[in-house]
């Protein structure tokens, strides 16, 4: 498979900041309005970045819907939206959080899913936990049905949870589901690249992986050296994220680190229109 060299990420649009509470609050407030996301999609598109890695968040999906050139975008959803489920899980439990999400679907979506998923989810604890995962994925994917998909990432928390079980079944099922039901490439997000990749090799699972890579070694586990060695020697398709180390590196400092290493793509989160033009232009000149 071939992925675009540069991709836009949605972290800032969801209020994620690793630098400070002040920045996180600014993102949350500013990007709560989809009208403030659309110009960034436009700017990215203007410099040729037309692949968007995103979660199934209301404001982000509304922006994609509103963006007049959304038919030119290739979307790479990250599913499920683990943050939303985790937030609701303390009150409702994991199952309750899933059901709550399902309630938000339109009648059209429910009919399209044949109500099958709702029925299954309600009885899932007594029946089949894997069914829950599959139906959850179907629920999430329903939001993306109008758009061109380039692949689907399994959320890093689920990838890493599956990794910790020392059992390849969940990853195999995810791969089959994405290929069979949506006809696109399944991919994995992780925060444990250096642990995940050797395990995938042992399981003989060849799949694109998205993981943090940056000059500072931020979130590179078990170590920056090991992650670099694996990306260069493994032959796996790797998408680098957190290249700017959560904003601690400028684009000029960050992109030379990526150059020369065997990355398929670089994912960059953007917080403003000027930042989009500056960051992507530096990336293009370096890579």
């Amino acid at each position: 498979m071939t992925l675009d060299k540069l991709m836009l990420g949605s972290n800032a649009f969801e209020g994620v900041s690793y630098l400070s509470r002040t920045q996180s609050l600014h993102y949350l407030e500013f990007f709560a309005k989809e009208d403030n996301i659309v110009p960034i999609l436009e700017a990215a598109s203007n410099v040729g970045v037309k692949t968007f890695v995103l979660s199934n968040c209301g404001n982000v999906m509304a922006a994609v819907h509103k963006f007049t050139k959304s038919n030119e975008l290739t979307l790479l959803p990250v599913i499920p939206n683990a943050y939303e489920y985790a937030m609701e899980a303390s009150e409702k439990g994991v199952l309750g959080a899933v059901l709550s999400k399902a309630k938000g679907f339109s009648m059209y979506q429910k009919v399209k899913l044949g109500l099958r998923a709702l029925t299954k989810i309600k009885s899932v604890i007594s029946k089949d936990v894997l069914d829950l995962l599959l139906e959850l994925i179907h629920f999430e994917m329903a939001s993306f049905e109008k758009y061109k998909l380039g692949g689907v990432f399994l959320h890093g928390q689920l990838t890493d949870l599956a990794l910790s079980s020392h059992n390849p079944d969940i990853l195999t099922i995810f791969q089959d589901l994405i290929r069979d039901s949506y006809g696109v490439e399944p991919m994995l997000a992780t925060h444990n690249f250096g642990v995940l990749l050797p395990q995938l090799m042992e399981w003989k699972i060849k799949i694109p992986i998205m993981a943090p890579f940056n000059k500072k070694g931020f979130m590179m586990r078990p170590s920056q050296e090991e992650c670099e060695r694996l990306v260069n020697e493994s032959g796996y398709t790797v998408i680098a994220k957190k290249i700017l180390a959560g904003g601690r590196l400028t684009p000029e400092e960050a992109f030379p680190y990526i150059k020369g290493k065997k990355f398929e793509s670089a994912l960059i989160g953007i917080g403003s229109v000027p930042e989009a033009y500056h960051t992507f232009s530096v990336a293009k000149s370096v890579l």
Binding site: Y18, D128, V129, S164, N167, R221, S223
Partner: protein
């Protein structure tokens, strides 16, 4: 310590934290995930399909009878902890107990006393002790970078409760309380770790959405040698994706502001290798301290610390005595808020 020995570990309670500890124990080379337990029998299916290669028991006694264990992680609702701890201590097991120790000070004292009578290793889940930035800040305070401390202010907020909620977590009889015991307890641990036990507490607590527990609280603490501090907590503030902590400490030689993201020093005079005026230490710049991460920074280190201390029979980073001090702090805040009077910590028994 036998370097080849693996600790046989059981997990009790498979809620959100139980699942996380199960995953982390499974990734720690010095541990073997030997058994899982939850009162919900239907979770056997989860254990099987998640590929966990450990037997599942809905009956704790049966698990303890059938599986030889060295240690357990107890991740059950707080109101059940005492009974589970009593059972596990009868088997002389080392115990990691998720925070808080219990829903009441009385239960926390009972289980700490029971544990003290034996030789088992006990740890509890106050995560800040395992986060590199907070350890760094502790080091700065210990060497006196900001000089003699006068006062501090602290807060922790999250966007979690904006309407009436159901479940044991929001029922004081079972959870022990609301935002203070469930959200602020991590910050209260940090304050205890940095400043020790306060002499007195005066607190007010309020309900906005919840009927049975507090949604917010403010406390004023007095410490020996004239140090004063404040703590503010709410789980009903918009704009906080995750719980966020802010602690600003003022000393003779400047200030230290500590948050989840950075530690910022302002020094009047250069001291202990830190320059005059501003120095910011970002979490992003701290070295990676664990080979694996899931759920939150520090969780792997927390579990590894307990497992390592169980193997070498040494004191873990956060003991039940520490947990009991936090519980006493929480109790003082609740008593003060209820009675609208200053509470002396030494009288909280």
């Amino acid at each position: 310590m036998d370097k080849d020995k693996k600790l046989n570990v059981g997990i009790i309670g498979l809620g959100k934290m139980g699942i996380l500890h199960t995953a982390l124990v499974n990734m720690i080379p010095q541990a073997k995930l030997a058994a899982l337990s939850d009162v919900n029998k239907q979770l056997a299916k989860y254990v099987d399909q998640a590929g966990l290669r450990a037997p599942f028991f809905s009956d704790l006694d049966k698990m303890l009878n059938e599986v030889p264990l060295d240690a357990v992680f107890i991740c059950t609702p707080a109101f059940t902890n005492l009974a589970v701890v009593e059972t596990c201590l009868k088997w002389n097991l080392d115990i990691f107990l998720e925070k808080p120790l219990a829903h009441t000070l009385e239960d926390a004292k009972k289980m700490t006393a029971l544990a003290a009578a034996g030789k088992s290793i006990q740890a509890t889940g106050y995560l800040f002790a395992h986060m590199s930035l907070f350890k760094k800040a502790k080091g700065l305070l210990d060497v006196g970078v900001i000089g003699r401390i006068h006062r501090f202010k602290s807060s922790t907020y999250t966007s979690e409760v904006f309407g009436k909620k159901k479940g044991w977590y929001y029922d004081k009889a079972r959870s022990g309380g609301g935002a203070v015991i469930n959200i602020a307890s991590h910050l209260l641990y940090l304050l205890y770790w940095y400043f020790g036990r306060p002499e007195t507490v005066f607190a007010r607590a309020g309900r906005i959405y919840s009927e049975g527990v507090e949604d917010d609280a403010t406390a004023l603490m007095e410490y020996p040698e004239g140090v004063n501090g404040t703590m503010d907590v709410s789980w009903s503030v918009p704009g906080y994706r995750l719980p966020y902590m802010d602690l600003t400490i003022e000393g003779d030689n400047g200030t230290l502001e500590l948050t989840n993201d950075y530690a910022k020093l302002y020094l009047y005079k250069a001291h202990k290798g830190y320059p005059k005026e501003w120095t910011t230490i970002h979490k992003i710049d701290m070295p990676v301290t664990s080979p694996f991460e899931l759920g939150a920074e520090g969780l792997y280190e927390e579990d590894l610390d307990f497992i390592s201390r169980s193997l070498d029979r040494k004191r873990p980073a956060v003991t039940w005595q520490d947990g009991l001090e936090v519980q006493r702090f929480i109790e003082a805040i609740y008593r003060s808020a209820d009675r609208c009077k200053v509470i002396s910590l030494n009288e909280v028994d």
